[in-house]
Assembly symmetry: C2
Homo-oligomer: 762 residues x 2
């Protein structure tokens, strides 16, 4: 299928007279965006929803960095103030487009736009040539930027655009200062702002409580921790106001730009010298001495991820920042059905997308995560030099799980249960000392361990209609990965792999860089683009949080970029975790959450004492509530075989959709969603709740009127509980039709899953 | 031709009883090396030549860096002191090997070796697991290193070796502390220690005068300047003692390790807080707080080039440092004939070297350097995005020199004059904004400008027996170069290019890295290895100074890595510059100096007022005195045509040799060398002097006895002078034979060149 626009775009450009203040409303009028320039020439915007303040007047601007090159002496002149408005354009846009895969068959992109051109005139000393001192006479210069707002019925996006111009060709970003001034002390669901990990538990506090919570919010034993401020948080940041507004701040289309964090800046953070945290991962932020005034209380200011030198980005005009997004509604369900971030991304750039397909998979993975097997093949070397080992002569350790026999077992399981692919981690040499060693040449991505017969196994899988899903752990040694990328993808093409799970565990090499910097964001997208040339789908783990780039490059079928199921083996995640992620992490794109744990007490089959905070019915619900075109059945085949009647739902459930209806939602409490399977009349419903349980009332008004559906309900049993009785579920079958109501009780940490198979007769 | 060893290696291993002090002498006894461990367990070595102190007792060791990963907590335990000797081995080695190309047909590698195993036992707190505090009980650990000395008749090399062991698998280097304690206040020929440029003029001062000279020694208008200390200097460092010893410190086989500088460390540098230099390139070194005692006066301490985080290297055992070399003689000529650095490198690792060939070339280069033409094709864009330009629609600037007509002119010139190749710079798109813009995607290395018809031109060249020499300017955007490397080399193979000149102008991308860091040294060698797979020779400019790796990878046929002829167009270099480089820069490998400027006053044909400080006869001498298998005739064809009788020498001179005899030498004053052309009986002699002129007396005792030679002498005319009369030369032909003497007068900034063609009859 090719990407294409569905309906005719309507574009109207209207010219207003220049003025100091201007406003634009959303198509239905619910949202109003005002823009002006203050007395010092600083750009200011504000935003309301149904007349309520969402963003109070907030400044916009970028602080630029000095560069040692004389020809760039211009650069230290900030794009913060001194602006005047030279042009404003408004327009309306309305089109409906078809995603290659998604929650709905079509997506409407309807907004009113305001583009303001701002000019800044300034003098700089003329460079006189000998390099030892600045010149003495002043030369006038002018810089223009455009701030573009798109105002939707459910939120806004804005970005900075930098046209190519004589006095702004290249510049270095010291910091972006986009402010988001909140109207009150909202409740926020937040992760500590961090340059290298997104895998902490979400905190729920008032904005005023962030500083006090920060130290305990960080799991300092995570070796990737690089927090930068006691009030720094990540996006997507979900908030709720005391008067019932749901507000979400994130970004869209972050491609060759640093990932944004948010920081509540007050006098204390502005002159920050204190050291955060304890333990070996303590991080000392640099003191800040911004010359610009303090923002209002409860104001978030953008904080970009730095490069190794502390700079936030190098830009060449014409260019633009990612979109900064503010979604808002008085109905929590609108936060989940919102398509603003996808809409703000560019249309699909791949000519041919026929090779991209939603995928259900299992894999050689969970048993190693839990600790019953190993990725590595031998225990005989304290460290490995890939070019110095003859693997045929190495003594195996007998714990290596990516072996022919075990992989065949998974292939058989996938074939038997209609799963499309089998992920195999640990198939390639280098796992003996792969992480956190600052080891550049850690993997070659083409050499299998001796007990993984790549030809035999791919032939075997293909003979059963199954594919193997490639795994490329990079250990964050990105230079090494890029050096081997073409050979690695050629190997995949040779053996018929069509998807790769990439991983970025550990510190970035080159040293000093961070997971969410401009250069790393460029790297992740480089890999996606190179993969597309090979017709390979990418599922990147530990990469930056997504921002909707999957619209433009739909072979980016998944990301981890948050605390996934693996943490259930590392001490566990709170039961409400999966009732928060759809409001936060999933805003930018699907997550490979690897759901489906049935045997939640890991000690039942391993030495691991950790346990998953979920019931079996809750696990089934995640295939609906955690939208992804890539869904794993993460537990072991033998564990599923013990609960084969419940596993029937995983066999049945789709992972691509023509329609989705969010029926109930409250951040951190519960989410209920109904989805219509792609190209069918069948619906699936999932409900997931937190540790308090939930009474779900589902009105089946989305079904075809008059039609009968075979309904199977996988529900928590009456005494089910995520801790004390997680495997208690009931399976009920009945016939239902439109207009009926299902009342389902979700146990603490539980949920439910429903399949509704349309009968042919109406 | 394949690399092979020539004679039988003799290896004797003798075991001594363990003792505190030990010594080993060179094969002829002239050099003695003593090693011991002092009372605090610090390794100490000293070195004498004919009984005179060369290196007074000097400490050895490495300071390690903390790493945040708990598993690497060991690492902060330095390898500086606390050592005891556990083993010592001595051996003798003598072999003669054949270089693929070089100054002599064979090279003898004859040394006595001392390898000392040192063990350090220490306790570290046991890590107790929660990441918030160190544990409380101490656990014993042991680390072993080997310091290996090779003692030659003309110098020593030593290195640190790190065997694989339980307590030393990975480590980060904070600094290497190899000391070189000089016996007096020697005269030194030095360049300011700098992380990013080697293109300054050499300074000649006493050691005690380095600090006072540093500020003026740096050309601060060079945008690459990154000096680090007022007493930091580069290697190879040539010195001369008051009692006539010539001493040179450099390194050998620096592959995956940071390039070494030397620093005279005293109380002032140890607590360094002052800012060096002026202008936009000022560099502020970090304060130093080494816990180790100050060394003796006149002691150099190694200072490695840092990565972006300030660390000096990441190591995995088994591994070793490069060799640190000290060459010594009481005859300056021995410093030039010395093969110690090549001998300390590994033998050739390329199976097939038949495709590697010494090369004489001209090129589309000097006219752009001088300013009469441009690398770039259009002036119409303030900046270029490679993926957004349709080059066929771009307006040409008419100054672009890599155009079909001009390139054909150079091809014709090369064909007519027996030159092998024609370098063409500026052939590929991207030169409009290529340097110092922090622009990552600056070149693609495969797309020619519209006026460079790559197929037509390579066909045309090949039809005349000439090749085009590829040019890859990377702008130091190494990630971009590596991404395109395979495509770029494939293009070269497709069109029959067999050599590439690479360039690394400007700041390294990723930002914060330096030209001479571990990662960049890895990059340069990566390119050489990848090129070898494509049978491509590499001539890298602005890369790190060579350390003899061309023995191991002889397709590395050249490097710039110093101030080359281009600076004659940027204000000029001192006349003694080429009388210093063979003692310093050329120790590690050949330099692509691009000699042969005949029209030295550039204003004669351009608007450039700079001028080359050399006579025409001096220019001819450089083809002998600046040894390289790659020799350019750098001036314009039309300039050579004005002096075609002198150009005859460039047509005649060889660039590969069976024998070389350094006849006269004094650093910074004069160098005279006779070389026997490969596979012939013909000799060529060159003499080059400084601004004071030189009377050269050449005894022809190296010629075949009784044989007659047709001798052509290209000499400065009586009134020749590099400034006032550079084009005054005489050409004299006569017949000579062995035993005769030539007396030749070199003008200020001049020299001479002699060809001696053996007659067939004896």
């Amino acid at each position: 299928m090719k990407c294409r626009r569905f309906s005719v775009a309507l574009l109207c450009i209207m010219h207003y007279a220049l003025c100091i203040g201007m406003s634009v409303t959303s198509p239905n009028g619910n949202i109003e965006l005002k823009f002006s320039v203050d007395a010092t020439g600083r750009p200011v915007y504000e935003m309301t929803y149904k007349g309520k303040a969402v963003i109070k007047p907030s400044f916009l601007g970028l602080e630029l960095a000095k560069d040692k090159h004389a020809s760039m002496g211009l650069n230290e002149n900030d794009l913060m103030d001194g602006f005047s408005i030279t042009k404003e354009e408004t327009s309306t846009f309305d089109e409906t487009w078809k995603p290659v895969w998604g929650e709905t068959a079509t997506i409407r992109n309807h907004y009113n736009e305001l583009a303001v051109t701002l000019a800044k005139v300034f003098d700089i000393p003329k460079y006189t040539g000998d390099g030892t001192a600045p010149g003495t006479f002043l030369e006038p210069h002018q810089r223009q930027i455009i701030i573009r707002f798109r105002v939707y019925d459910d939120g806004i996006g804005f970005r900075y655009e930098f046209p190519q111009q004589e006095d702004l060709n290249y510049f270095l970003i010291k910091e972006e200062h986009s402010e988001f001034s909140m109207a009150g002390d909202h409740t926020a669901w937040w992760l500590p702002g961090d340059y290298d990990t997104q895998e902490q538990m979400t905190q729920e506090t008032k904005l005023s409580e962030i500083r006090g919570r920060m130290r305990e919010a960080v799991n300092w034993s995570n070796s990737s921790v690089a927090v930068f401020s006691p009030t720094g948080v990540q996006t997507s940041l979900q908030m709720k106001s005391d008067d019932g507004l749901y507000i979400n701040i994130h970004e869209a289309a972050c491609a060759d730009y640093a990932t944004m964090h948010l920081e509540l800046v007050d006098a204390e953070t502005k002159e920050l010298t204190t050291q955060l945290g304890g333990g070996s991962n303590a991080y000392t932020p640099n003191p800040k001495h911004s010359p610009y005034p303090l923002p209002q209380p409860f104001t978030f200011v953008s904080h970009l991820t730095p490069d190794a030198t502390g700079l936030k980005g190098a830009m060449q005009t014409p260019c633009e920042t990612p979109w900064r997004t503010v979604m808002v509604s008085d109905d929590a369900r609108d936060m989940l059905s919102n398509n603003l971030i996808l809409n703000l991304n560019e249309p699909c750039k791949l000519e041919d997308t026929s090779w991209i397909h939603p995928t259900k998979y299992c894999g050689v993975w969970w048993e190693m995560i839990v600790g019953r097997g190993s990725w590595h093949y031998t225990n005989d070397y304290p460290s490995i030099h890939l070019d110095q080992i003859d693997w045929t002569k190495v003594k195996p350790n007998s714990t290596h799980k990516a072996n022919n026999e075990n992989v065949k077992r998974y292939i058989d399981f996938a074939a038997k249960n209609g799963l499309d692919e089998v992920l195999v981690e640990g198939w390639n040499v280098g796992w003996e000392d792969w992480a956190n060693m600052w080891k550049r040449d850690v993997f070659d991505f083409v050499t299998p361990y001796p007990d993984f017969d790549i030809k035999m196994l791919t032939d075997y899988a293909h003979s059963k209609g199954v594919k193997i899903l490639m795994h490329h752990e990079t250990s964050s040694s990105t230079q090494n990965y890029e050096r081997h990328l073409e050979d690695a993808f050629n190997l995949m093409n040779k053996y018929g792999y069509d998807a790769v799970k990439t991983g970025y565990v550990g510190d970035i090499i080159p040293r000093g860089d961070h997971h969410y910097s401009q250069s790393m964001n460029n790297h992740y997208l480089y890999v996606v683009k190179e993969a597309a040339k090979h017709h390979i789908m990418v599922n990147a783990h530990e990469a930056t949080r997504p921002t909707g780039l999957c619209r433009t490059y739909p072979n980016l079928v998944g990301n981890e970029s948050a605390r996934g199921t693996e943490y259930e083996a590392f001490g566990g995640s709170n039961p409400d975790h999966t009732c928060i992620l759809p409001f936060t992490r999933l805003q930018g794109g699907p997550m490979d959450y690897t759901p489906g744990i049935f045997v939640t007490k890991l000690s039942e089959w391993s030495n691991n004492t950790s346990w998953a905070r979920i019931t079996i019915a809750g696990s089934l619900a995640l295939y609906l509530t955690m939208y992804s075109p890539l869904q794993m059945a993460a537990d072991l085949p033998e564990n599923y075989e013990k609960f084969d009647d419940a596993f029937q739902f995983i066999r049945d459930v789709a992972c691509d959709w023509d329609d989705s209806r969010y029926l109930e939602a409250e951040p951190g409490d519960y989410i209920t969603v109904a989805r219509k399977a792609k190209g069918t009349d069948n619906w699936f419903i999932g409900g997931k709740c937190d540790e308090n349980g939930h009474e779900s009332v589902i009105k089946l008004d989305f079904l075809d009127k008059g039609r009968q559906y075979d309904c199977t309900i996988y529900a928590d049993a009456k005494d089910a509980h995520y801790e004390t009785n997680p495997q208690a579920y009931t399976i009920t079958k009945k016939t239902v039709k439109a207009g009926q109501t299902l009342k389902l009780t979700e146990a603490p940490g539980g949920g439910f899953a429903v399949s509704l198979i349309a009968r042919n007769e109406k």
